[in-house]
Each structure stands twice: as C-alpha cells, then as structure tokens.
C-alpha cells in the first residue's frame, strides 16, 4: 500500500471522526461546535477528492 492509499484511508477515518465528534457535541448541547465539526468533515471530503485528482498518476500500491 502506497502513501497515497494510506492517506486516503486516513482522511476517510478523519471524516468519520469529524462526523462522530459532531454527533457527540450535539449530545453535549454544543450545536455551534457540532456544525463546525460537520463542516470540517465536509472540508476533508473536498480535500480528499482534490488530493486524488492531483495524484491520479501515482500508483495505489
């Protein structure tokens, strides 16, 4: 597995963490921070897609 693949895996888990943290913040009655957490999750998805486009010539292995 190349660094490219591992990075995508890591960013995917980070997105899940951001979403999970957002849910946790909603339970803690912190909606503003929850929205920030969800937005950072969306930001990470956008980054992941742009990263894949930028390194499309690099192998996944």
């Amino acid at each position: 597995m190349s660094l490219k693949t591992f990075h995508i895996f890591f960013i995917s888990l980070s997105v899940l963490t951001a979403i999970g943290f957002g849910v946790w913040l909603l339970n803690e009655n912190a909606p503003v921070f929850a929205v920030l957490s969800f937005l950072s999750g969306i930001g990470l998805i956008v980054y992941g897609i742009s990263f894949l486009r930028k390194l499309k010539h690099v192998s996944f292995i």
Partner: protein, 197 residues
C-alpha cells in the same frame, strides 16, 4: 556493495524492500497498540465503576486541537512527498518543515494537558482509567518524538541524498510518511476512545 531493491520493485513481494520493511514494522505496532486498546476495553467492561464519568477530567478542547494539528501534519507530510515527485525540492522543505512544526505543536499541547493533570494531583496511580490514559498517550507521544527525529533528519542532513539519488530519497520520504500516518491514525482512535466515550 549496493543495497538491493531500494527503488525497484521485487517480483516476489510486488513492492520494494523499504516498503515491505515499514509495513512489517507497522504490523508489529498494530499488535502493540491493539493489545493496549484491548486491555482498555476489557478493564472498562469488567469494572464496577462507570468509566463514562471518569473521562470528565480530561480536556476535550485541547485534545480536539491536537487532533486538528495531527490531521494537518499528515496533509503536510503527504504534500512533502508529492512535492518531491514533482521535483520541487523547495516545496518539500517547506512542507516537511511544517510537519515538524505541527509535531512540536502536538507535544507542547500535550505538555500543557499533562501539567494540568499533575497540578490537580492526577497521576497514573490515581485510578485504572488514568493509568491506561497515561500509558497510551505517553506511548503515542514517544512515537511522535520518534517521528520528529526521523523527519528532522530528512529535512536537514538527510536531504543531501536528493542531489545524488533523488528517487531513493523520495522513497525514504514515502516510508517516513507511512510511519507518520500510522502515528496519526493511532491518535484518531485514542481521541474518541479516551476523551469522548
């Protein structure tokens, strides 16, 4: 005598030796941290105390900041590798420098977190939760220090290899990046397990 398969792929493994080596090492690291996570789960479900209240003493905002710092460092790390593949050494130096700065930032934040615990007389001996909290976060911190040493070497004296063997140097940064991503990944698991749940 030259070390074989530092750049070219071995036919039998499908990867070069450096990549095979780092993945074998990371497999052993998975077992090490896996054992600690398992220990945490078994101690928690076997305890008569409610552990969901015990982590109220931990500083979630500081841990969140550290999560952001480590995710940023993984982005700068992969950008340093990508810069080398695009033959842009100046950008490599910039991104690797930022990675090292983020690593120090993580340790400084961790220092403040630990200091606050000690000021309130909260030690590993206080209770089982804090014992495993300090064990896991300190072991992770040691891995961060290991990453700083390796990355600083590749940012400084080790970067001379770029002038003589650019492909091999690029591979070395990929290997260091795989290690760094593993260290960041461990934190991504530690953060919710210790601070939130």
């Amino acid at each position: 005598m030259e070390i074989p398969y530092t750049i070219e792929t071995r036919e039998d493994t499908g990867v070069n030796n450096a990549k095979l080596g780092i993945w074998l090492f990371l497999a052993s690291e998975v077992m090490l941290f896996g054992a600690l996570f398992t220990t945490y789960i078994l101690l928690r479900i076997g305890s008569a105390d409610d552990w969901s209240q015990l982590n109220d003493i931990l500083n979630v905002p500081l841990a969140t900041l550290n999560t952001v710092v480590l995710i940023s460092s993984s982005v700068t790390m992969v950008m340093s590798w990508a810069s080398l593949m695009m033959k842009d050494f100046k950008k490599y130096k910039l991104y690797m420098g930022l990675t090292i700065l983020c690593s120090f930032g993580f340790l400084i934040i961790k220092y403040f977190e630990y200091s606050a615990k000690f000021e309130h007389h909260l030690y590993p001996s206080t209770n089982t939760f804090l014992a495993i909290y300090f064990t896991m976060t300190a072991l992770h911190g040691l891995h961060v220090i290991g990453g700083i040493i390796v990355n600083t070497y590749f940012w400084g004296p080790g970067s001379k290899m770029w002038n003589t063997q650019p492909e091999r140097f690029t591979n070395r940064i990929e290997i260091a990046g795989l290690y760094w991503h593993f260290v960041d990944l461990v934190w991504i698991f530690l953060f919710p397990v210790l601070y939130l749940l």
